[in-house]
């Protein structure tokens, strides 16, 4: 029996070994992903992102507890932490906040180092998620590296993206910058028992209103005036709710879980589930094509030739654009 077959029959040792193979992008791991692919596409993928210290791990812990206790869903957690850019090592501490989940065979937690990847996930996070999906986990929580403004890859992978904020982390200009708020399907203000929570909520509401202009009807010189949003379709689209939680004691978790379920229903009814699935697969296909083309390039163009052209650029004899033309000329044929 292959590892993939053992995994499909519920073997946890096979599952954990396969996760390692896929994480390390070994030939065995790739073969297993191919074998498992027809069994994927069932799970609800929930991304959890936000700045370091906002309480992502504690929130993931509470959500997993909730989905286990209230709904008896099988839950997998992939927690990504940064690798050191200098040594490649990592210390991953997400399990410290997830000790409530210990001893439950319906929960499987895997820590993952980012290994030099910059988008908030590791290169092979999507692969790990597929393995869990094939293994029959209903819900897969993906916790990103503590993210700031540009780590938005999670939105491409997850069906539902939670962006976690906490009071006292930044002013309202932070909230209208491009990036992380735009990817939120649900905004969570965690640590909502802390001072300053009103300011955070207000900043997020204002930012959201700018992003999702709503139809205003108001009295103007005694007449009802209607100001339309820019686009009719806006009314049918999902407007991210803002929820308050205290992950350390479970406050607000029920409401958050309800919103997550409501979002899943919305995705299915609006056709967005399929659209997201398709664009995720497209991104995956593109990434694989790029990888394959780059490695084909390296197979066909010797390192010495590459170095020689690099030297010419360095000497200002060749522009980088000309160099690309020269290196690709006659190469990359299948």
């Amino acid at each position: 029996m292959t590892l993939a077959e053992q995994l499909l029959s519920g073997n946890r040792l096979a599952l954990t070994r396969l996760l390692t193979q896929v994480e390390n992008d070994t030939p065995e791991g790739r073969a297993a992903l191919t074998e498992l692919f027809p069994h994927t596409g069932q799970a609800h993928l929930i991304g959890v992102t936000g700045a370091p210290g906002t309480g992502k791990s504690s929130l993931v812990n509470q959500l997993a507890l909730h989905f286990r206790r209230q709904e008896e869903r099988r839950v997998a957690i992939v927690a990504v932490d940064p690798s050191s850019p200098f040594t490649g090592g990592a210390v991953m501490g997400d399990r410290v906040r997830m000790r409530d989940l210990a001893g439950d065979p319906g929960v499987f937690i895997r820590s993952m180092a980012s290994r030099g990847s910059l988008g908030g996930l590791a290169q092979t996070t999507a692969g790990l998620v597929q393995v869990f999906d094939a293994a029959g986990f209903d819900i897969i929580l993906i916790e990103t590296v503590g993210a700031g403004q540009a780590e938005v890859e999670i939105a491409r992978l997850a069906h539902t993206t939670l962006v976690v904020e906490a009071p006292g982390l930044g002013d309202d200009i932070q909230a209208i910058k491009a990036g992380i708020l735009e990817i939120a399907d649900i905004l969570v203000v965690n640590k909502a028992d802390r001072p300053g929570v009103e300011n955070t909520l207000k900043a997020l509401r204002n930012a959201l209103e700018l992003a999702h202009p709503v139809r205003h009807v108001f009295q103007h010189h005694g007449r009802l005036e209607v100001v339309e949003g820019p686009d009719e379709t806006v009314y049918n689209s999902w407007i991210p709710p803002i929820l308050q939680t205290v992950a350390t004691d479970g406050t607000g978790i029920q409401e958050l879980a309800d919103e997550i379920v409501r979002h899943a229903v919305h995705l299915r009814e609006s056709g967005d589930w399929a659209a997201r699935e398709r664009s995720r697969l497209e991104a995956e296909l593109d990434a694989l094509l790029q990888q394959r083309l780059v490695s084909r390039f390296h197979d066909q163009v010797s390192q010495s030739r590459y170095e020689a052209v690099l030297d010419q650029i360095f000497q200002r004899e060749l522009t980088p654009w000309e160099a690309v033309g020269r290196l690709l000329d006659g190469n990359l044929n299948p």
């Binding site: 946890r12 040792l13 954990t16 490649g88 210390v91 000790r99 001893g103 895997r110 290994r115």
Partner: protein, 140 residues
């Protein structure tokens, strides 16, 4: 793929679970070792305090680690270590190397070695020694 620095010679990162079983709450040593292993290029999963042997074995399984490092200062090592080794074996992870750091009396060393503990370190042990021996144990 770009060539990145790796924790092992074969290109696979060494994954280490650092755990504190038992009831003592002093985790400075565990954190110092976790950090040293990180600086040696390993991927360290830190579980926090007061872990039962069952929790540690389950975490080792889920994380598919090569090494489990136990920090035990409570004196309960003769109860905890054999139990953890037993559970690892029951899970099919008999290849996992177990190291112990803490206060371990000399007379307990032979028995711990005998049941399969790969290395034991007391106060003042050098992190270089630990790193070297962890590497050697994994690649052997």
């Amino acid at each position: 793929m770009s060539e990145q620095k790796t924790g092992t010679e074969q290109g696979r990162k060494i994954r280490v679970l650092v755990a504190k079983p038992g009831l003592d709450g002093h985790d400075r040593g565990a954190k110092v070792v976790a950090r040293a292993l990180r600086d040696a290029g390993m991927e360290v999963i830190y579980t926090g305090l007061r872990q039962t042997p069952e929790m540690i074995a389950e975490a080792a399984l889920q994380e598919d680690v090569d090494v489990v490092g136990l920090s035990i200062l409570s004196g309960a090592h003769m109860a905890l270590a054999p139990r953890i080794l037993e559970l690892l074996k029951a899970n099919g992870q008999e290849q996992v190397k177990v190291f112990i750091g803490g206060i371990i009396p000399d007379e307990d060393l032979p028995r711990l070695k005998k049941i399969g503990v790969a290395g034991i370190y007391g106060p003042g042990a050098s992190t270089e020694d630990i790193i070297r021996q962890v590497r050697a144990a994994v690649t052997e």
